[in-house]
Amino acid sequence: ALRMQRVEVSIKLRKTKKDEQLLKRRNISLYAKEENLSPGQDKPDEIIHLSLEEIVEAVNGNNPKLQLLATQATRRILSKQKDPPINQIIELGIIPRMVEFLSYADNAPLQFEAAWALTNIASGTSEHTRAVVEGGAIPAFTSLLSSPHMHISEQAVWALGNVAGDGPIYRDALINSDVIPHLLALVSPVTPVGFLRNITWTLSNLCRNKNPSPPVDAVLKILPVLICLMQHEDKAVITDACWAVSYLTDGSNDRIQIVVDTGVLPRLVELMASVDLMVVTPALRAIGNVVTGTDQQTQAAIDAGVLAVLPCLLRHTKPAIQKEAAWTLSNIAAGPSQQIQQLITCGLLPPLVELLDKGDFKAQKEAVWVVANFTTGGTVDQVVELVHSGVLKPLLNLLLAKDSKTILIILDTISNLFMAAEKVGETEKLCLLVEELNGLEKIEDLQNHQNNMVYRAALNIIEKYFSGEENLDLEPQTGQDGLYDFSVKKQDFNF
């Protein structure tokens, strides 16, 4: 059996899932909070509304008070709940000037407002982020990380997070401008939780995206801090740290090895068992990635206890978790027979059968892969055990699935089962079982399937095992006298 890497979703028909981590975020903090965060600011009731023309004029002018007012007005426009007019603001051509404001160390309020406004522009599309970067924002924000004002360095962290989230090119541009040591320096036992959340999120974006993956030396710098953050008491911090690890494990085996070497797997497995969906998702994702690796890497995940946690996740109420857990299991089942044995010993078969029977379709599809891999790599005894666990009925029911690939895999799996049955001389019993469970009529029907490979696989099974049942029935049994007698010597098949 083959371990399958997470499928590169170059083309997607579906909506982006809500349980994915956000690539970019806009700062739309509530009014009151926002004003508290801007010390030295006028009182709320003194907000002045400016037209776009007035903003351009003031930003480009030399009056610090008007600059602040205009920048603040811009930030406010960009912070409105729905459809902020990012394009319009960019078209005003004020970004370079805003970037300049970031360096006005003597005017903290202006620095803060400009940082906020730029953060929200960078939170848009790739075009929007590019406008900010091309305005020279990367070095400016990097130096702001060391601002004496915590709220300003926090806003810089956020802005850089949006830039990093755009993709591998800007991510690596940040890494090359040496942003990592500055970011890591901000993490300390006294860092407030809110700030720490932003830092963790930005770090996770620095670990994110492939083609290429982030440079190894950067990963090596970030990982120890991420592992500390995974021990934090705040769920949001843990969650984003897990997301970061899940990105780092989503790659080639040497990338997986870097993570395995840190010894973080037991903690990830522990987090997989969390009651919090938010935490479970990325932790499971990370472990799922690890078991796409080598047999040794998979064994490391097994040793960390993943098999004890999976039964619960296979029965999870959220279909997405069921699916991810089944995918993880499918890669464990693709391992050598010793790993398959551990899967049996740890009691994974009953939840697997349940999932095949009643799970969401997405999860059922992955569960089919588990069975397919199991029957490819398992020993005859293990396959017999699988059949005893009741896998056949739900598996055969899924021959009605509206997905050609799934049907084909099931047919291949059935062939595997027959090969195992042949080895123990139980072919006939398996034939009867398949028929009893209404599998035969389904396979017969698939001989009319439009998909050529499906049709041929079905035909093959019918021809090989279900044609001429009479010959099986009548296999010449001759006694000592050389004449037909009615006895048939067979072992008992104990499905």
């Binding site: 170059s10 083309i11 997607k12 028909l13 579906r14 909506k15 279909p319 009643k358 969401d360 379709f361 699935a401 509206k402 997905d403 050609s404 690939k405 084909l408 009867l432 028929e435 009893e436 469970l437 209404n438 009529e441 029907d445 399937h449 439009q450 998909n451 490979m453 499906v454 021809e463 044609s467 001429g468 049942e469 009479e470 010959n471 029935d473 009548l474 296999e475 010449p476 001759t478 006298d481 050389g482 004449l483 037909y484 009615f486 006895s487 048939v488 010597k489």
Partner: protein, 971 residues
């Protein structure tokens, strides 16, 4: 070809000729068209004709010819020339869509097919503007045009329903969705609005509903691979409208036709499919809509009539409910007792009724009826769907459902009792209901294997099934008779044996029924009862229990074959075979009449063999007659030969291919029955059996080899004396077989028989040649199967001719050959030999090499003595080595096309396993010990010293065990 009027005229004439019924005119015209289709402009000429020709037949003919031309030529196959020139391709793509849309429907369909064939190759890369061109037509408001576009889109997109996910496919789908999903949705909404504005205009509605059907089909294709973002965002629009269409009715759309589904039914049926797709694949997103659909579909079922035209809709709708009610999180939708009652009463019971159409099939199309009812090819029928729904509901609600139905069964039986001749259908439905309720799992071989424990099957059998079958009139209420017999058949494992025994004479009696279904079911039921297993691997029903019925059973079975419509009834013939095999010697008194009837039948069907199963069971029955009779009276073989040979000769002379393998098998059986020298009638046939033409047919090979083996066993001395000149031909057959990887084992069967039975002097001159052939094959294409057969053969040879003779003949072919074969083949491969007799032959042969071959003791071969002994002990003690090199895995399958189908092995012509060393050696381990003992007596000390210096400890331990068991020791 230029685009000229002259060419158009020529083409018109040839097209007209292709429609001529006279092949002398039609064929040359077709040939001509084929010869010019490679010319540039040919397709454009066809397009011109189909658009502009004056004659409608020519238009249609041109469009069909065009489509077939595209089908044959459009695809560009790698390494083959492009069959359509580029400018023609461009011109076709530029013109075909508008041309299709402006053509009348008959031509539009052909062009639409052509577009989808082109689209399959060129869309989207090489035909980028196709989609926009199509979508733009949606705004035309002309539904003739719109339907053309939709139909084309459907034929382009329907492959999304069965193809595997791939980047390429999904890129295409994404492109289609981006361009098509929104316009399609708008068209859907607009069409529905038009339906209400034109609610009173029948002809407008027809067009609009055709559009809606196509739109619903497109929805299915576009949503099949995954739930597209667009459709998730617009689920409300689609599902709300689908839902209201399900509940819609309009008198203007109802059709009078009882058989053909109307537009409304087709649309609703497709909507059921769409809902089922969402329920199965996108449950999470679809959940909010599902309960509404359950209610709507259930109401739909309650209000839909019994006519055949609703069948597809009804079975689709029931299947939807069946699939939903099994899911734990929708259980609550069905839980309520009133809901359950109402589903049972209004959905299940009405759809189980025996309808006029079923009655028609029962009487006039019995074969089809039996196939559907007995063999389960009823997947799309209403009864079947209703049955599935019962099973689905029983998953959670077995108790309540059984309770509800018990009430129905009782009331239906009461209705029947009031007036059987009018109300017999009520009883039929009651039996069907009981059957579907009680059966949880079923196989052809065992009938029902798991039953609902809440149903008392035996009680129902005694009270309601047996009385019908006991009735004196076998031809009354044939449907109920068939139901009753089927009940016995499928519940045979649930009903106690004494009840089955009571049923046997009733079944025998019904073999006389005029209804084909009834007497066929009776035969089938008897056949199934006779195959039931009792304790100790005996049959449940014994021959003794059947003794009183033998005569009437045989009489009725053969009489049933004379009933109209059943002259080649495979169920009856199979029952005959099974009865013979059960009754054994008690059929002997009837054999003369039986064999006469069978040979007459054989003669009749050999004129035109059309029912393979019937024929097969007929030959099995013949074999059984022979075996049973000759077992008691070996002399009787002559009378069988007398009865059969005439027909057999005719079959062979007329080359009835289907029957020849059977004839050879029966002849083998007959020949093996002879105790004395082979009769001259067989010898006359011998030369014919060596005819190469017979050996070219794969299906003949196994039975012919078998027959030749019988000749060799019984007539080797006659062959050696009277047919010595045929020996080279016989060996030629061996050579032919040995050359094939698929048939080499058959060649060895033949060779083994030759070596075992032919007088040595008669084959002396060929022996060396035989080995050379085998060595060649070994050198050029060695396979595991060949090696296994080869090892058995050389050991058999060694047993027959002696170990020294084996060594001498090997070394006479090439010096040191014997050592090489020992070292490279025997020692490393012996573990692969499988089969008890085969292993025994090898053990005895190797023992002989070890102990009866002087060169093994005092030449350079001596160094192989211990390894050979070790290999022999391995053969005794180690598990068989069944590894097969990867590349060989497929030989048997690929190199023997149609082996299974072409060769029809008769079970009752079975050859008994032959053990050529059976008399000589009983226990090969003890034989080894004794032989070693003998050897050590001849040269004291040698054996012991070899053993103690080089045999490994484990093997030595085994060997000591053998010596102990044989009570001998080595000196």
């Amino acid at each position: 070809m230029e685009l000229s009027d002259a060419n158009l005229q020529t083409l018109t004439e040839y097209l007209k000729k292709t429609l001529d019924p006279d092949p002398a005119i039609r064929r040359p015209a077709e040939k001509f068209l084929e010869s010019v289709e490679g010319s540039q402009n040919y397709p454009l000429l066809l397009l011109t004709l189909l658009e502009k020709s004056q004659e409608n037949v020519i238009k249609v003919c041109a469009s069909v010819t065009f489509k077939n031309y595209i089908k044959r030529n459009w695809r560009i196959v790698e390494d083959e020339p492009n069959k359509i020139c580029e400018s023609d391709r461009i011109a076709i793509k530029a013109n075909i869509v508008p041309l299709m849309l402006s053509s009348p429907e008959q031509i539009q369909k052909q062009l639409s097919d052509a577009i989808s064939i082109i689209g399959r190759e060129d869309f989207p890369q090489k035909w980028p503007d196709l989609l926009t061109e199509m979508v733009n037509r949606f705004q035309s408001g002309d539904f003739h045009v719109i339907n053309g576009v939709l139909r084309t889109a459907h034929s382009l997109f329907k492959r999304y329903r069965h193809e595997f996910k791939s980047n390429e496919l999904w890129t295409e789908i994404k492109l289609v969705l981006d361009a098509f999903a929104l316009p399609l949705t708008n068209l859907f909404k607009a069409t529905i609005e038009l339906c209400s504005t034109h609610a009173n205009d029948a002809s407008a509605l027809k067009v609009l509903f055709s559009s809606l059907i196509l739109i619903a089909k497109l929805f299915y294709s576009l949503n099949f691979q995954d739930l597209p973002e667009f459709f998730e965002d617009n689920m409300e629009t689609w599902m709300t409208n689908f839902h209201s269409l399900l509940t819609l009715d309009n008198k203007l759309l109802q059709t009078d036709d009882e058989e053909e589904a109307g537009l409304l039914e087709l649309l609703k049926s497709q909507i059921c499919d769409n809902a089922a797709l969402y329920a199965q694949k996108y449950d999470e997103e679809f959940q909010p809509y599902l309960p509404r659909f359950v209610t709507a579909i259930w109401n739909l079922l309650v209000t839909t009539g019994q006519e055949v035209k609703y069948d597809l809709l009804v079975s689709n709708a029931i299947q939807f409910l069946a699939s939903v009610c099994e899911r734990p999180h929708y259980k609550h939708l069905f839980e309520d007792q009133n809901t359950l009652t109402s589903i049972c009463e209004k959905v299940i019971v009405p759809n189980m009724e025996f309808r006029a159409a079923d009655e028609e099939a029962f009487e006039d199309n019995s074969e089809e009826y039996i196939r559907r009812d007995l063999e389960g090819s009823d997947i799309d029928t209403r009864r079947r769907a209703a049955c599935d729904l019962v099973r689905g509901l029983c998953k959670f609600f077995e108790g309540p459902v059984t309770g509800i139905f018990s009430g129905y069964v009782n009331s239906m039986l009461q209705e029947y009792a009031k007036n059987p001749s009018v109300n017999w259908k009520h009883k039929d439905a009651a039996i069907y209901l009981v059957t579907s309720l009680a059966s949880k799992a079923q196989t052809q071989k065992h009938g029902i294997t798991q039953a609902n424990e809440l149903v008392n099957l035996t009680e129902f059998f005694v009270n309601h099934i047996q009385p019908d079958l006991k009735s004196a009139t076998v031809n009354e209420f044939p449907v109920l008779k068939a139901d009753g017999i089927k009940y016995i058949m499928i519940f045979r494992n649930q009903v106690p044996k004494e009840q089955l025994l009571v049923s046997v004479p009733l079944l025998i009696n019904h073999l006389q029924a005029e209804s084909i279904v009834v007497h066929t079911y009776a035969a089938h039921a008897l056949e199934r009862l006779f195959t039931m297993r009792g304790t100790n691997n005996t049959t449940l029903i014994t021959a003794a229990e059947m003794a009183p019925f033998v005569e009437v059973l045989l009489t009725n079975l053969f009489k049933a074959l004379t009933l109209p419509g059943s002259s080649e009834n495979e169920y009856i013939m199979k029952a005959i075979m099974r009865s013979f095999s059960l009754l054994q010697e008690s059929i002997i008194p009837y054999i003369p009449s039986v064999i006469t009837q069978l040979t007459q039948k054989l003669l009749a069907v050999s004129k035109n063999p059309s029912k393979p199963h019937f024929n097969h069971y007929m030959f099995e029955s013949i074999c059984l007659s022979i075996r049973i009779t000759c077992k008691a009276n070996p002399e009787a073989v002559g009378s069988f030969e007398e009865a059969l040979f005439l027909v057999f000769t005719e079959i062979l002379q007329n080359d009835v291919q289907e029957f020849i393998p059977y004839v050879f098998q029966v002849m083998s059986l007959l020949l093996e029955m002879h105790k004395n020298e082979i009769p001259s009638s067989y010898m006359a046939l011998f030369p014919h059996l060596l005819q190469p033409v017979l050996w070219e047919r794969t299906g003949n090979i196994p039975p012919l080899v078998r027959l030749l083996q019988a000749y060799l066993e019984r007539g080797s001395s006659t062959i050696a004396s009277a047919a010595a000149d045929k020996i080279p031909g016989l060996l030629g057959v061996f050579q032919k077989l040995i050359a094939s990887k698929a048939n080499d084992h058959q060649g060895f069967y033949l060779l083994n028989s030759i070596i075992e039975h032919m007088p040595p002097e008669s084959v002396d001159q060929y022996r060396k040649q035989i080995f050379i052939l085998l060595f060649q094959r070994l050198q050029n294409s060695k396979t595991t199967k060949f090696i296994k057969s080869f090892l058995v053969f050389i050991n058999l040879y060694c047993i027959r001719y002696g170990a020294l003779a084996l060594q001498e003949i090997f070394d006479s072919i090439q010096p040191k050959m014997f050592g090489m074969v020992l070292e490279k083949i025997i020692i490393p491969e012996i573990q692969k030999v499988s089969g008890q007799v085969e292993k025994k032959i090898c053990a005895v042969g190797i023992t002989k090499i070890l102990t009866e071959c002087p060169p093994m003791m005092d030449t350079e071969y001596t160094k192989l003595w211990i390894p050979l002994l070790q290999a022999l002990i391995g053969l005794f003690e180690l598990p068989e080595d069944d590894t097969i090199p990867d590349e060989e895995h497929f030989i048997d399958i690929e190199d023997t096309p149609g082996y299974q189908t072409a060769f029809s092995q008769l079970a009752f012509a079975g050859k008994k396993e032959h053990d050529p060393v059976g008399q000589m050696v009983n226990n090969p381990r003890i034989h080894l010990a004794q032989s070693l003992h003998k050897l050590s007596t001849a040269c004291p000390g040698r054996v012991l010293s070899m053993l103690s210096t080089s045999l490994n400890a484990e093997a030595l331990q085994y060997l000591q065990g053998y010596l102990q068991a044989a009570s001998v020791s080595l000196l």
